[in-house]
Amino acid sequence: MRNVLSLIAAAMLACGPALAEDLADPEEILTARHGYMLMMAMNLAPLGAMAKGEVPYDAVAAGRAASSLAALASVDSSMLWVPGTENGVLDDSSALPEIISNADDRAVKFAALKTASDAMATAAGTDLASLQGAMKGVGEACSGCHKPYRKSE
């Protein structure tokens, strides 16, 4: 009995921070958004290192990173783009208000990212030249949003 009680207590403690989080808190949403971007960068890093010749080409590692990137690109991220999380409201945000208000165009841009990441998922495991070629497409898709919707430094 005492064991069961401690288990419940431990479970409650573990859930505590999660339950305390407010999913509508703009700061939390911004943190999630930055984390989402960072996850994509982390999966791009091994691909870029191979494209630059910093590490030898490894079809398995490249394929894994590219599939992961494609999976991230297909996630529904609409809950990350909500009013109150834009630049001008939150200091740490460099998202211009238009990326939140232009939901249709944002969807087009994310669809382009999905297309480019899928192309990378195919290319990455093929050979180095294909991987290098696909980097351009992914980069273009990223800049597709960063160009119009991110505040310049």
Binding site: M40, A41, M135, G139, C142, S143, H146, K147, S152
Partner: protein, 296 residues
């Protein structure tokens, strides 16, 4: 008394003459392009290296839309707002009726076919170092692009900057077709210098400007505040840009930084141009950047 008057008149005439001598437009000699044979295929490389589409096409244009050079992008500055003109192949709205010499005068002398000075928002202070062969090739390539009938919008520039003759004084002070980075350079570094200092006109943003808007060649590529706007152009001298040459090449190819962030703002447009260059040219720019004197 009469002597004094004559002297004064003479002085005024001299001053006017000096003013005219300094400020008059200086087009190339009529036979400057004699013997040059245009190569439109190479002209396409010049087009991407020169970044024409970054300002003269719509900022959101993709793929072949980048070849529609209808103008319209707006550039704020402390002197007023400039609007990129139509340089499509339309004979009336664009530059379809221009000769090779017209384009050469525009690019290396900043002079219009009508003999007027252009504002240096058009980066002739950099294009002045371009070879006339490249310009003849570019002219041939531009002639293959679509015509667009959209009329050019006027610049929104107030007095006294709307007196175009005064730009002759600006050119007298700041137009300098000498290389900034000199000394022993490898062939790749030399090619990179041509791409970065002349066609690519990197210094137009990355080199800070003085009060009259001239590039400060002593602080070449040292960055500075965005004129008439917010934020800063980054310092890309080796003092601040510590990326490897491979990092720079990747950035100019895909837009990815070493942290796998991606280019935004106007630099994203620049990458859309450099991505079209032969890989060797991007490597040349990277090699050149390492030779730029470090500036804090």
């Amino acid at each position: 008394m009469r002597k004094l008057l004559t002297a004064l008149l003479l002085l005024a005439a001299l001053a006017l003459g000096a003013f005219w001598a300094v400020t008059r437009p200086r087009p190339l000699a009529a036979d400057a392009l004699a013997g040059l044979v245009p190569d439109a295929a190479h002209g396409e490389q010049v087009f991407w290296a020169g970044g024409c589409a970054a300002c003269h096409a719509d900022a959101e244009a993709k793929g072949d839309q980048k070849l529609i050079l209808a103008g319209g992008q707006r550039f704020a500055s402390p002197f007023g707002t400039f609007v990129a003109p139509n340089i499509s192949n339309d004979p009336n709205a664009g530059i379809g009726a221009w000769s090779d010499l017209d384009l050469a005068n525009a690019m290396v002398r900043g002079v219009s076919p009508e003999g007027e000075h252009y504002y240096p928002v058009f980066p002739y202070a950099s294009y002045a170092k371009a070879t006339l062969q490249d310009i003849v090739d570019l002219r041939a390539y531009l002639a293959t692009l679509p015509a667009d009938p959209t009329p050019s919008a006027p610049h929104e520039v107030g007095f006294p900057f709307n007196i175009r003759l005064s730009l002759g004084g600006w050119k007298f002070l700041f137009l300098d077709d000498g290389w900034v980075v000199t000394g022993d350079l490898t062939p790749a570094e030399t090619r990179g210098r041509y791409l970065a200092e002349a066609l690519g006109h990197c210094g137009e943003c990355h080199t800070p400007r003085g009060t009259l808007g001239g590039m400060d060649r002593g602080r070449w590529f040292a960055g500075g505040p965005v004129p008439g706007g917010k934020g800063n152009f980054p310092n890309i001298t080796p003092a601040k840009l510590t990326w490897s040459e491979a990092d720079i090449v990747e950035y100019l190819t895909s837009g990815f930084t070493p942290d796998y962030d991606s280019a935004g703002g106007h630099m994203a447009l620049v990458v859309e141009n450099t991505a079209h260059l032969p890989a060797g040219d991007r490597a040349a720019i990277a090699a050149y950047l390492k030779k730029v004197p470090p500036a804090e």
